[in-house]
Subunit: 367 residues, 4 copies
């Protein structure tokens, strides 16, 4: 246990046994302080949309195919020319120091060990440099929350590019925080510095405090912002937080190289659809032109399968990995990805699909 | 605590902290006497319709739009030429003395402070004059339960007009009380005088007792009654309690200047639809000719959004404000309106809507 | 308390207070012996259909109409030329001695006092003569379970006709008892004689024991049986237990003068539809040629309304009246009918319907 | 109680009383060791599909027909020229020694006594010879899990044929075990030898250990395997585990003589449809060319009826028989089949169906 600003961070580094990802939540609740756990686990308002994220998967069923000559299915796939062992990647989640003293660095290490992709958040508790270092050459994405201060955006994009980010994930669904009650109940304040903000504050010489920068987060985001980021950074830009086909089209028209379907795990707009509800219509709008990444509510191999069969190319998870981070550090994170991939591989076999491409063509039913 | 006829009225006047409007109910239950609380909170019969009021909102979802260039959305709107800070107004609810010793006067004061519209009930425990006074120039509506004694109606309408009511709300769904079990179980009798009835009894010289007037409430209400009230009072008349497009059309043909879609919070006809279920068809019948006001079951910013996006121009709340009245007097009431407007503003931002008019044009989904 | 063959029968005769009909079940459970209560309350198999009977009502909603000029609605109606105060009548239920020492006689007395129609079961614990006597001139129906012994049928029909039955209810859905677990768990045996069977045994001189007669109940029932009964008795024959439009048509073609839509309160075939589910299609098949009576699951005024608006002319209740019989004798039974009619009258007013015929024309919605 | 390798096997042989099949589960839980009970009762992943198996039956309703001249319905039917007393047969389930020391032999004896068909699993704890012997001339099927070692398959098929199997059931939905949490939680290992595997190991002279053979189970199964088995064994081959019409067509085209619709009781692919959901489309694909057998979730007579009315010719049960095996040995098993047939016969009568063929033509409703 490490205590920072009075906040007790886990410093575990150990193997964890996973029966299912859902159970990690209660286990993590035991060791993450209440304020941090509330922040990580919460949804917005009455959490209808957060719950719908899960329930939406049950609106479709996988047709089990049994005479399809499948053996030892392969979960390998690739994105932006990078090969990975599994279509399950890490979603960008902020402030991972709330779960573990090594924060994003440990996550990156575990993700790399599992052979898949890390996403580093603007609001990480470790810096881009540290996370990149921990990835040890494995592919990773940098996630950007745009600031009204373009210099800040440039600084982060420069940093990410110089450390070898494979793509930039531009989050566009968080022009304002959702109304999340646990944070209010807990009177939760971030106890830990955000490394990238602190770094900019120091190096820019502009004398800005972290709070000032945080408050400068951009509300007003348009296609022009997508284009500006893409043109500046010269890396693929994935627009994250898309829930409507028209926004997907707008993002593509503005130079997006990827569409990330997400409702932020039900943390932003409540009263909207489950993320899985909107995936098919967005995938049709994208029509294969760029990769589609999906998140929000994935906990089971069968859900990974359903998302891919509904048009996703990759599936991201967030909270389960953070819970495992608290429980076992990098080893915990690695186990989460390997475990979920294991469940997914069983589903592949039982559904009669040999490859990830087979999964994408699989038939789904509605009962 | 003030004791009137053996009934213990709250006399709190204090700031309240709201996490969500639902929690107010249990908090208020602690301080409002059982009979009064039963009367305020109850629905009719087995309360299917009261419960459906809430559930109906979940039959539609807000499409989250994210590249819409929205910043600091405005909740301002107007009705009958009156500008207000929020589309959330106060529904007329009877006998507010059950919740607070200052009754409607405190409510009016809180509503005015929040920059929106009060509705004063015929069966208020404070008089039209007192409520109007407490509004301090802010706009307010007078709600009329018609009596078979036209003189009584005239007296109330005269009083309301002379004190500056902006409109008259003519309630037409209460030709008889719904079958409400808590009142029967509690053997509940109104412990407090109804100021407007008492005043008429005294000033008319007709020697009628309050019970006599109350019993004279009109069951048989038609379009002709709407017309008669409208012609007499010379103010906009909003017909409240409409749940069917044909009744809306009939009201409009009879001179209504507004349609108030409501099932009385599930207190009247049970076994009918949720109020939100019928809003779209009524809004289509009204077709923008007059303002549509909506109530019954609204507790969340996302629900305000959904109601406006389904054809309402204003949304009214009742019970949550009464609970807050008990908990904090005028300050409590004010906080309820500001809180709900705060939730609504967050939803506006996250749904990509800058103005109330944008909300009205927003797309809803059905999953 | 009266003890007969070791079975403790209620002999209460007192006013009862009803908040709602559902609560009567638990109250009655306190005073009816376990075996008898099990028999009265049970459904068959896993009771899906019994539960569906209730849930089916929530699949339609009453459209509340508010400008319809309604005042003091009338619940009066008539059937076979007999005027009654309410469309709610008594369903035939067997062995009412299980609930009260006076059995069907007390029920008949209470039903008559409420101004509506009693139905006397073949398997009553009081005789046709006693029940007819207790009806004191009020209309009543005789319900026939056919025997393979036609002489037995003739004897019962003769008896019913001679005592003034207004119609014969021929039950056709009980060719065999449903699979009802409480009876098996309780090893329940009827502790009381069945008066009509005992009487036939004595008077026919055929020397048959009750068990022999009971075992002779007819499984194989066809249209020819309907015709034979109708031709023999010369009274209107209502065929009870219809759940399919084709069976309704067949009954009509065989001389039925009424169709009784019922699934026996979920006591017979489980896994079938709720009785209310099938009412509209059967009413369309009948098309107004004969009266349609509906039962199974009715507990609320709004449900009476929905049944009438879906094609029923009369609505019958069973279990709630039997519970009230145990709790208050004839007075209890009377109160049940008056109470339910009271709830129904409120719904009539709030739905904008002045007469039972208005109710039949009312619009229902599906949300 | 018999203890084998530390595992406590029931050795009961006694009459059991059945109120309903569901209750057997809790009763059996008391006497089967935790590991064995987990293995028998579990489904895969979050058990959505296992639960859906039950719920799917409630999506259709039996139309109760009442004037159909039915008396003492007959449950007799036949398959492959073999007459049986009931359309309910025994599904192949592995390792029945977990429930009872006599294992499959006791099951076969009970099934034969009930006049229906036993299915012997490849992975039985008693040998083909023993089970065949216990069947005493009654018809039985042999179920084959294919091995990559064709010699092993031949040995089993030879053995089954020589002992008089009426058909071979080729299971094709278990190319890999489903992800079942109780086994992992209990760290369950089969404590008992599998007789057929052990026998092959000894007699083949190939020196293979049981684990080696078990590990050689074939993942890659195609139509060619169906054809090879059918041509080799010269008995009807029923392909078990079909959940999709195209797989049914493929099996038929590959020489299948029967289609067994099953999702393995929800033990294999989770996130797929309920087995009953897919039955109608598969029956249409088969179109009467070969018998259709159905399992997964059947516990009630009404469910047997619904399955037959949806296109099944026979219905199989697994877990309830295994629970009864633990509770009462051969007598318990016999009672399960007789009990369920009893429930089914009541439903036949109440639905107006005289024969199993009538049931197949019965109308189902969807509410």
């Amino acid at each position: 246990m490490t205590v920072t600003n009075g906040y007790e961070q886990s410093d575990r580094e150990q193997a964890i046994k996973i029966i299912n990802l859902d159970e990690l939540e209660d286990q993590a609740r035991q060791i993450i302080p209440q304020g941090g756990f509330g922040y990580i686990s919460e949804g917005s308002e009455d959490e209808w949309t957060k719950a719908r994220n899960r329930a939406a998967f049950n609106t479709v069923q996988i047709a089990p195919r049994v005479l399809h000559s499948v053996e030892a299915p392969s979960t390998s796939t690739s994105v932006f020319g990078v090969s990975i062992k599994t279509p399950v990647i890490m979603a960008p989640t902020a402030a991972q120091g709330l779960a573990h003293t090594r924060g994003e660095a440990a996550t990156a290490e575990g993700v790399a060990a599992a052979g898949t992709i890390m996403s580093q958040s603007t609001y990480g508790t470790t810096s881009i440099a540290e996370t990149a270092e921990a990835s040890k050459g494995a592919p990773w994405f940098f996630q950007l929350y745009m600031s009204n201060d373009w210099e800040f955006n440039e600084a982060l994009l420069d940093e990410a590019k110089s450390h070898g980010a494979a793509a930039v994930v531009l989050t566009v669904d968080s022009m304002q925080g959702g109304y999340r009650e646990p944070d209010i109940r807990n009177e939760f304040q971030f106890p830990l510095p955000m490394a990238n903000l602190a770094a900019f504050s120091e190096t820019s010489g502009k004398g800005k405090g972290i709070f000032e920068i945080y408050a400068a987060a951009k509300q007003k985001i348009t296609g022009a912002d997508v284009r500006r980021v893409a043109e500046y950074v010269g890396l693929p830009v994935i627009v994250k937080g898309i829930q409507d086909p028209c926004d997907a089209a707008l993002a593509l028209g503005s130079g997006a190289s990827g569409i990330w379907v997400s409702n932020h795990g039900g943390r932003q707009l409540n009263g909207g659809p489950g993320s899985f509800d909107v995936l098919p219509s967005i995938a049709r709008a994208v029509n294969g032109r760029v990769p589609v990444i999906f998140d929000s509510g994935v906990r089971r191999g069968s859900q990974v399968f359903k998302a891919l069969a509904s048009g996703a190319d990759l599936v991201a998870i967030g909270r389960p990995a953070i819970y495992a981070l608290a429980l076992g550090g990098a080893q915990g994170v690695r186990t989460v990805f390997e475990y979920l991939t294991h469940e997914f591989r069983i589903v592949m076999q039982l559904a009669g699909t040999q490859t990830v491409d087979d999964v994408k063509r699989a038939k789904l039913l509605h009962y």
